[in-house]
Symmetry: C2
Subunit: 361 residues, 2 copies
Amino acid sequence: MDVEERREPTSKRPTIEMVASRAGVSRQTVSNAVNAPHRLRPGTLAVVRAAIDELGYRPSQAARSLRTQSTRVIGCRLLPGNYGGTGGVLDRLLHSLCDTARSNGYDLLTFSANDDDDEIGVYDDLLRRNAVDGILLTNTHHGDARPDWLLERGARFVAFGRPWGRRGVKHSWIDVDGARGTAEAVAHLARLGHTRIAFLGLPEGNGVGDDRLAGWQRQTQQLRLATKGLLGRAEDGIASGRALADQLLDSARPPSALVCVSDAMAIGAMRAVEDRGWRPGHEVSVVGFDDSPVASVIRPGLSSLRQPIEAVANQLVETLLVVLSGRTPRPERTLLAPRLVVRESSGSREIRQIGTAAEAR
Amino acid sequence: MDVEERREPTSKRPTIEMVASRAGVSRQTVSNAVNAPHRLRPGTLAVVRAAIDELGYRPSQAARSLRTQSTRVIGCRLLPGNYGGTGGVLDRLLHSLCDTARSNGYDLLTFSANDDDDEIGVYDDLLRRNAVDGILLTNTHHGDARPDWLLERGARFVAFGRPWGRRGVKHSWIDVDGARGTAEAVAHLARLGHTRIAFLGLPEGNGVGDDRLAGWQRQTQQLRLATKGLLGRAEDGIASGRALADQLLDSARPPSALVCVSDAMAIGAMRAVEDRGWRPGHEVSVVGFDDSPVASVIRPGLSSLRQPIEAVANQLVETLLVVLSGRTPRPERTLLAPRLVVRESSGSREIRQIGTAAEAR
DNA sequence: CCCAGCAATTGGATCGTTCATCTGAACGTT
DNA sequence: AACGTTCAGATGAACGATCCAATTGCTGGG
């Protein structure tokens, strides 16, 4: 049986015709064996399948695409990594996307772009060339031009991220419930005994930032905790986090815990705490968002809200497949919950009133 | 002129035939206008191009692939991110690959795999379906089955990483000169006054590890520095780095500087230093490898060897294009130099003989 | 024995492009 | 004027699959 594995050196890729003649049937029967096995009698199916295996036949993607007008390829922009700060989320996403796509018979085509206009340019190219069936949109934001452009063009897509500030949205999206995450962080800190829990957020108008802020507001209100003078806003980054935390900790009635809109902010906040000779998780607790790789590497470890990226990826692909199938009754909206990963920066320990302690010096 | 941008709702993607009839020429002339403009008279070329622009025509990828038997797609495995530790290198690579590929008219198809066998399975699929023209291989290692498999199959590929432990290699590769990097690190530390410079490496047999080790050996020898008892080996990771550093620092004649095979190791080493109440960059200097995002975020900042990933990506794609063009005289080998990024973990400062200091206690 | 009815199978047309080949005109040479 | 050469452009034939309508084979009823 050592002939089976040996392929004739002269022969190129096997075509459907070669399989057909080997199995003693017609092209179409082979095609059916691959695409609609139920149409064949069990006997013929077995024969055809044997021929397929012997020749190692796989339908040519190009021929198939040309005929069916579908490529079985999904396009996805590679976000410009904010690796200076946190990073890591998009890698997990990409991995999971590949897995889910592949197990559904799709390939993932990635590309990078410098900004949204650039990205639209790539979409234009991909769609015109019929190089992808659908698109996964990431990093939606206020005033995002991309969804409208795609809709107008009649492109099939699903977004990771809500259509911030829009009504009557016509496309499906999946997102992580940031508010729920920060609310959980507040609850966690409150259970540890904190009563003055601050929030380090982004400038107003940032969808993600406002969402995460809302969770803090909601939960502090529900627990009847103070919020006045406990909100700071700035652009994302370690430096901003440090500056905001400095400001809050220097105030008359400083917080004893800081919930941060991102890990970068949180790392900055931890530095501000350390600058005062305090230890995050003792005198002041800090919680970040995204559970980036850095969070588990720095010392003390940073408690952070981990997005269920694998689930997001599954949902994205599966929803896109529904959209691609054409029969979408109406846009689907999915919100998934993040999970708090507790580390030393907010570990349980005796609480110390830093405000009074500072005064006591 | 508002007609120009309006596309008839009934019309599908424009085909070459539509462009041809609009321009009053034949299919082939349009094809030539796109693929071999020099064959057309300037006048006709202008007319055809006008028609192309008006209709927004782009050749169908599928039809083109079917006819030319080439997809203009490059496949690349998404490495299982070791994000727990360092990560980040592959993201930069991926971004650059996308950019370079796209500017050369190619698309990048990514996929993930659990292990090499799995990866070969995907290659098999992609090649059988004719879904990619070529492949970029990453993370080569000793006893790697993938290159041979690809060669036997006649697939076109280029590797990022040397074919460790092989002779008479038949494929092109690009790699970063790890030895040169660690040699530079040793030279850097020696300039700062260090005389006992240790190396934290990987178990023997790991290509990357042995390469980086070789640079340390070479440079210490050239500078006539001690090496005896200054080499530690273990699996990669923060814990190993810490353990190895502990061992070295506890020895009778401890090193005052640690060159590490990876940032994860280096971070572990920094912890060992801190555990002793010392500060990395003062009592003991530490240098890592890869300049992962973490290196710039932790405090003190970790000096690290940064791989020229963008250049690697360019080289990879360009070399693959040469391979794809078919006229490859012989395999190309390219070694690029890493660059030392100096941060506080090895900043210039007064040297203190930690050996004698310890004895003096 | 014949034929309707149904399922299994077949062959031609087609997707949109490029390749190979051909036509005809322009041009220069003898 | 006859000839060969070059060049712009046109035509038919692929590439390898699937769609569609037609055909074959089989079963069972009259």
